[in-house]
């Protein structure tokens, strides 16, 4: 059976529609993937690095408001009992 397909009225519009659908699907799926990827990342942890000024013992704990680098913390060194000093404050992304 012979099917006649007109180039301008049938074939070209069909190809253009199909291409548009493919491009739209790609864009939407990419956006969706990005959104899902962002939502699955990870809370931000703000940490404080403490160091014993005498023996060099290092400890990391969560940041508290009022912490600053150079602050002599209330926490004592488990080795020699000296007060620990805050040497760094930073943030990093960790798995939720």
């Amino acid at each position: 059976m012979l099917i006649s397909i007109d180039l301008y009225t049938t074939l070209i519009p069909t190809v253009i529609t199909a291409l548009t659908a493919v491009v739209l699907f790609y864009i939407v799926s990419r956006e969706l993937r990005n959104t899902l990827a962002v939502s699955s990342v990870k809370r931000i942890s703000e940490y404080v690095t403490l160091r014993c000024p005498t023996c060099g013992y290092v400890k990391v704990r969560e940041f508290k408001v009022g912490d600053y680098v150079g602050k002599v913390d209330d926490e004592k060194c488990p080795r020699d009992g000296s007060n620990l000093v805050i040497m760094g404050i930073g943030k990093e992304q960790v798995s939720a």
């Binding site: 009022g66 600053y68 150079g70 760094g88 930073g90 943030k91």
Partner: protein, 391 residues
């Protein structure tokens, strides 16, 4: 050789009946309509659609920026209301007044003394802002670091407000005059502005909490370098908000300069360096400046670059003064840069930058050893906002 079927086709065309006058008129009309559609209506539709697209992009950006500003003002208000017992609307009005504060640049028609004028203007601005913050929250007057941090917050809000007003101005102009090209220009710079606005927006809670930011990398380097030195002694000086100390490192006398923390300030590093040369009469053989620098897209965060010259951002007043002093006394200036993006520079310090600071401290020791002799004097300057970093 011409194909036989082609000749047959040409003959058929030539033998076709001529158009009568009615058909010819219809044919002409059809072509005119097509012409108008292609060159009049379609481009107009295209331009209208593009105009609508850019318009929605810019208005979306403005809405987002307005939301950020209102959200930040709410955070600031919550912070203030926890300290004072006043009418919330009154306080909000005062904050909005501070956000509208204008700084008029000195005229550059006559450039003589322009740097001194800028310095005076910056100092006046900082003093004025601090006094306004204390007037807003009198209970903070005894807690200078929090006042300084709050001053930084007001600075951020001013910056956001300024961006909003400028973009809104051009947006309204573009709509008023239906200016397609003005909107295109606005839409073109939106990605860059979005990055800046996100960075500024994220910095408000960080400043309120008093955490070190990426820009604190310079002062943090000086703080950590102190642990490598011996005989540390703080030099009392009259330079406001600036820490100056001397210590011994591998038989070299090292002068350490940074802004005085943990409040958010950049200090007056040029005045402190002037004090080293003209107050203490020291003659350093080398000056090393350490600062955070904006990275290019292809560069990695936390990468380190070394070079010559004063590593310092801003308007350039302090940079000019330090360069002048170094030139006057013939001191070579060495620079160490820690690369980071703008969001990293303005937000809480990331682990990458924190680790980069440790590497810079190591490098700093090597540079001092390599370029000076035992007995020499060296100045190390930690450039940047010292928020969350004491001394």
């Amino acid at each position: 050789m011409v194909n036989g079927s082609v000749i047959l086709g040409m003959v058929q065309v030539l033998q076709a009946p001529p158009l009568n006058s009615q058909n010819a008129q219809q044919y002409l009309l059809y072509n005119i309509i097509l012409l108008i559609l292609w060159f009049g209506i379609f481009p107009w539709f295209y331009e209208m659609f593009q105009l609508w697209r850019y318009q929605s992009q810019v208005s979306g950006f403005l809405n987002r920026l307005r939301f950020f500003m209102n959200n930040n003002i709410s955070q600031v208000l919550d912070f203030i209301m926890s300290k004072v017992n006043e009418d919330k609307r009154l306080i909000e009005g005062k904050i909005r007044d501070l956000m509208e504060m204008v700084i008029i640049e000195p005229t550059s028609i006559e450039p003589e003394g322009l740097v001194r004028k800028y310095k005076m203007l910056i100092n006046s601005y900082n003093d004025r802002l601090e006094r306004d913050v204390i007037r807003l929250i009198p209970s903070l007057s005894s807690n200078r670091p929090v006042v300084q941090n709050f001053t930084n917050v007001i600075d951020v809000l001013r910056e956001l407000n300024f961006i909003y007003k400028v973009i809104d101005h051009y947006y309204r102009l573009a709509i008023k005059y239906k200016s397609y090209y003005l909107l295109i220009q606005l839409a073109a710079i939106l990605p860059l502005l979005k990055e800046e606005v996100d960075a500024l927006n994220g910095s408000v809670p960080v400043f309120l909490k008093g955490q070190p930011i990426g820009d604190s990398a310079g002062p943090l380097t000086v703080f950590r370098f102190k642990s490598l030195c011996s005989n540390l002694s703080v030099i009392n000086n009259s330079v406001k908000d600036t820490y100056l100390a001397s210590c011994m490192f591998k038989d070299r006398k090292v002068y350490l300069v940074k802004a005085e923390g943990p409040g958010g300030t950049v200090g007056h590093l040029d005045d402190a360096i002037k004090y080293i040369y003209e107050g203490i009469n020291a003659r350093p053989k080398l000056m090393i400046t350490i600062d955070a620098a904006l990275k290019l897209e292809g560069e990695e965060s936390g990468s380190i670059a070394e070079g010559l010259g004063v590593a310092m951002g801003g308007i350039g007043v302090e940079k000019f003064n330090i360069e002048s002093l170094a030139t006057k006394y013939g001191t070579p200036i060495y620079a160490i840069l820690i690369k980071m993006s703008m969001p990293e520079a303005l937000n809480a310090m990331t682990k990458t930058i924190d680790e980069a600071v440790n590497k810079v401290v190591e490098r700093l020791g090597k540079v001092v050893e390599a370029y000076t002799e035992p007995g020499d004097e060296v100045v190390i300057v930690g450039v940047g906002n010292t928020i969350g970093v004491a001394q």
